[in-house]
């Protein structure tokens, strides 16, 4: 049902707008650049694409327009008629037809020109073909402009139509103009309809919603109807007529008893007669309004008679429907919208009547059974007196019994929490955690045990046989101490003889010498060049020395010396050392002296070399190189020494901020750089 989709119809652009939209889209969405030099097929393709694209877009847009607008035959006759009433069915159809034709024409144009473009032989020709095609399409649209405008108007109006559901419960209010229909509407619904003293204030249908017995009812307010022949009615009246004709609703015919609407009761009765055919099969209620101005009883006889006639007619409808012979209270009602007297009664009566009618209809329809199923519960009748209790397996019963027992027990057992509460609550009582300890003797539970003793963890030492082991240990210790004491006593035995002591002293001396030498060598190795042994810088590897050492060890060195000397004959150095040796042989007395002298001489000799002389083993090529090396070394330390620095790593600044640099004014210039 397309009832509410009137709001969703696409906007219909005007002719000019339409053309603009489509053409600009073509320009944007298709490639724009083409040159003469391209292959002809490419040129053709380019222009064909443009033409086709334009045609497609037109087609799309026009199709959406045509599809969106409702087809009058396909929608609910109420709407169909309403639309016909409002916007002439024929006009409407014509407009849409024109749009359709335009669409087909554009398609044809595109087809033709694409065919022509296939044989275009130059850029210019293709281009002009394309221009022609697009031009013709645009002309088609220009011709259709008035239809487009008309459709746009219709669309706007349709979007504002009230959303009436033709199938739901509806209450229709009709009557002469200015009778009080809109005020009634305002009273029972939330609709805010214009209420004015002049006639035809309401110019179209208005919908409001009201509730009765938890159901929603549509209340439709119609414009006033005048008593005229059918053909003379204007659009506004036709609206209400349509509504009356097509909607299955309860009808409230309003009657102004006081005549303040400007029409007499006779006229209103005449109207009633003329449209009573529309009230067929609809629950009808005659409502006498404005009773505050004129009460129903106070009417003149003629008027009363007319009213009663109307009532009789209404009763006929009533009888025709439900067959419930009731009194006329449900058919003729009085109220006053100004004083709100009887308004609710009217509403209730109308809703009630409508509901009854709808229910009856439903009951008669084929879908009855479906409805009935929804609120009927079948209860089987017992066929005999046999007891059939539910079957519960034994295990479940047992489990249930056990559970019940446990629950009972839980209730009986005293919890720690209860104990706490008894003894003063959480802050006062602290539960004894040692209560449930499992120990060999119960009186041990409250023992206070140290965990740490003298820097040891007691737990690490715990051992059931610790006493045994301790005993063993003490025995061991005793034994050891015994040994020591024995040693003490043994001491008086053999002491070292003086010769032995001398030997020991000698040994110790030698050992300490070795250590000293090693220490010296260790510390100076970095700063002195390590001369390999064969160069013998300090003259310690002489055969004479070897001889001395060997003899002190108790060996005869002569053979060793001879062997050494035989290997190194004819050397200058040897001869000089020989001289020393010869002196040595002469006497014991001189021996010592000479020994000392030779030692001192050898020492002095090692020290008194000229400064540039190269000692073999130092690594210099010649004395010139050595001199240069010494010079470089000195020059590197020269600047340092001038700065009074102890060495390379000495970065001490004696004064970090010397006053003469950081204070004082300048005679010219600024002092912002110091």
């Amino acid at each position: 049902m397309v009832q509410y989709n009137f709001k969703k119809i696409t906007v219909v652009p005007t002719g000019k707008e339409f053309i603009d939209i489509i053409l600009s889209r073509t320009q944007r969405r298709t490639p724009t650049q083409v040159h003469k030099g391209y292959a002809i097929s490419r040129l053709r393709q380019f222009y064909m694409r443009k033409v086709k694209f334009t045609q497609q877009n037109f087609h799309e847009k026009l199709s959406t327009i045509i599809d969106d607008f409702p087809r009058l035959n396909d929608i609910h006759p109420f709407y169909g008629d309403l639309l016909h009433v409002l916007y002439n069915k024929d006009h409407y159809k014509l407009a849409l037809g024109q749009i359709n034709t335009a669409r087909n024409l554009i398609g044809k144009i595109a087809k033709d020109y694409v065919r022509l473009l296939k044989y275009g032989d130059s850029l210019y020709r293709c281009k002009s073909l394309k221009v022609a095609a697009l031009g013709r399409m645009c002309t088609v649209i220009k011709r259709v402009t008035p239809s487009l405008a008309y459709l746009e108007q219709i669309r706007q109006h349709m979007a504002r139509l009230p959303s009436i559901d033709p199938n739901t419960r509806t209450v229709l209010i009709c009557g002469y103009p200015n009778v009080g229909k809109s005020s009634f509407m305002n009273k029972i619904t939330r609709a805010d309809v214009d209420v004015q003293p002049y006639a035809f204030t309401t110019k179209s249908l208005f919908v409001g919603h009201t509730d009765y017995k938890y159901l929603r009812y549509q209340v439709i307010d119609t414009p006033g109807i005048l008593d005229r022949p059918f053909e003379d009615r204007n659009i506004i009246e036709m609206c209400s007529i349509t509504a009356l004709a097509h909607l299955r609703a309860a009808v409230l015919f309003f009657l102004d008893i006081s005549g303040s609407c400007g029409y007499s009761i006779a006229q209103q009765a005449a109207l009633f007669d003329s449209i009573k055919s529309l009230f067929m099969n609809k629950p009808l209620i005659i409502v006498c309004n404005k009773t505050d101005l004129q009460a129903l009883e106070g009417l003149s006889e003629d008027d009363t008679k007319l009213v009663m006639e109307m009532k009789a007619e209404a009763m006929k409808t009533l009888v025709g429907q439900g067959g419930e012979a009731t009194d006329g209270s449900n058919v003729l009602l009085t109220m006053s919208t100004l004083t709100e007297e009887g308004v609710i009664a009217v509403k209730n009566a109308a809703c009630e009547r409508l509901l009854d009618q709808r229910v009856e209809q439903k009951m008669k329809s084929k879908k009855l059974n479906d409805c009935l199923n929804r609120f009927h519960v079948a209860i089987p009748k017992p066929r005999d007196q046999k007891e059939r209790p539910p079957c519960i397996p034994q295990a479940v019963l047992e489990a249930k019994a056990k559970q019940a027992e446990e629950d009972a027990e839980k209730e009986k057992r005293k919890l720690e929490r209860d104990l706490e509460n008894e003894n003063g609550g959480a802050g006062v009582y602290s539960a004894s955690l040692k209560k449930r300890y499992i120990l060999a003797h119960d009186e041990w539970k409250e023992d206070i045990i140290p965990e740490i003793l003298d820097g040891h963890n007691v737990a690490d030492f715990l051992d059931p046989d610790i006493l045994m082991r301790l005993e063993e240990l003490e025995r061991e210790e005793g034994a050891l101490q015994g040994l020591e004491e024995d040693d003490d006593f043994e001491m008086d035995g053999a002491e070292l003889t003086p010769e032995e002591q001398a030997a020991l002293a000698e040994i110790r001396k030698k050992k300490s010498l070795l250590i000293q030498q090693h220490r010296i060598k260790k510390s100076t190795a970095e700063s002195r060049p390590t001369v390999p042994r064969k160069f013998d810088k300090d003259k310690q590897f002489t055969s004479e020395r070897m001889g001395r050492q060997l003899s002190s060890l108790g060996l005869d060195p002569s053979m060793a010396i001879n062997r050494a000397r035989s290997k190194s004959r004819g050397r200058k150095r040897e001869r000089s050392s020989d001289r020393v040796d010869s002196m040595d042989v002469d006497g014991d007395q001189q021996n010592k002296k000479m020994r000392l002298k030779s030692r001192s001489m050898s020492r002095s000799r090692s020290k008194s070399r000229p400064p540039g002389e190269v000692v073999p083993g130092e690594g210099f090529k010649d004395s010139a190189q050595k001199k240069k090396a010494i010079k470089i070394a000195k020059s590197s330390s020269k600047n340092r020494n001038k700065e009074a620095r102890r060495g390379e790593a000495d970065r001490v600044i004696p004064t970090l901020k010397p006053k003469h640099l950081f204070s004082g004014k300048r005679s010219t210039g600024k002092t912002d750089r110091r």
């Binding site: 040891h456 963890n457 082991r469 040693d487 040994i507 004479e544 001889g547 010869s582």
Partner: protein
């Protein structure tokens, strides 16, 4: 509550002291004070840092193996409380400690005497003892000194006496010095 050992210096960490560092592989390093912690962060090896127990044990400065160490063993399962056992244990801890301390003392004296003997050439034991007293060191027993002196003499006699000489004269005394005979040179003859 447990007393832990510092990972770096092996001293005991009392509760409320030090820092624990847990590494990503879940190894826990405990430090007794920031000195150890900072050394650890510098990636120093405690076995090379002189004042740590690890160094001292490794270089034989402190006693390493002893039966007193076997009494202290970390248990992973707690034992059920037994009053008698605990009483005995508490008494035993004190005695074990005493024994251990005595043994360590002995170890230190043994060690120190030997090393300090290098420094002096005094052979007389009494003199040595007075020397020790003056140095304010632990005075070793006379017997110990004598024993060490004998050992040293026996082991190192080859420094002052050649093995050949030792064979000829098997006593632990200095050898008789052999006179060096001078061969006649040309110059000498000339001088003469």
């Amino acid at each position: 509550m447990r007393l832990e050992k510092c990972w770096f210096c092996s001293s005991t960490i009392y509760p409320g002291h030090g820092i624990q560092y847990v590494r990503n592989d879940a190894k826990i390093f405990r430090f007794c004070r920031s000195k150890c912690h900072k050394n650890f962060k510098m990636k120093r090896n405690p076995r090379k840092v002189k004042w740590t127990k690890a160094y001292r044990r490794l270089h034989g400065k402190d006693m390493t193996q002893d039966s007193t160490f076997e009494f202290e063993r970390k248990r992973n399962r707690p034992e059920r409380y037994d009053r008698n056992v605990t009483e005995n244990t508490l008494k035993a801890i004190k005695k074990i400690d005493k024994v251990r301390v005595d043994r360590e003392h002995r170890h230190h004296t043994k060690r120190l005497t030997f090393s300090s003997l290098y420094c002096c050439n005094i052979c007389d034991l009494d003199q040595l003892l007075t020397c020790f007293e003056k140095m304010d060191r632990m005075k070793p027993k006379k017997a110990q000194l004598r024993r060490e002196a004998e050992k040293e003499l026996e082991q190192s006699i080859s420094m002052v006496k050649a093995p050949a000489a030792q064979q000829q004269d098997p006593s632990l005394t200095l050898p008789i010095k052999v006179k060096v005979s001078k061969p006649e040179t040309v110059e000498n003859r000339m001088e003469e």
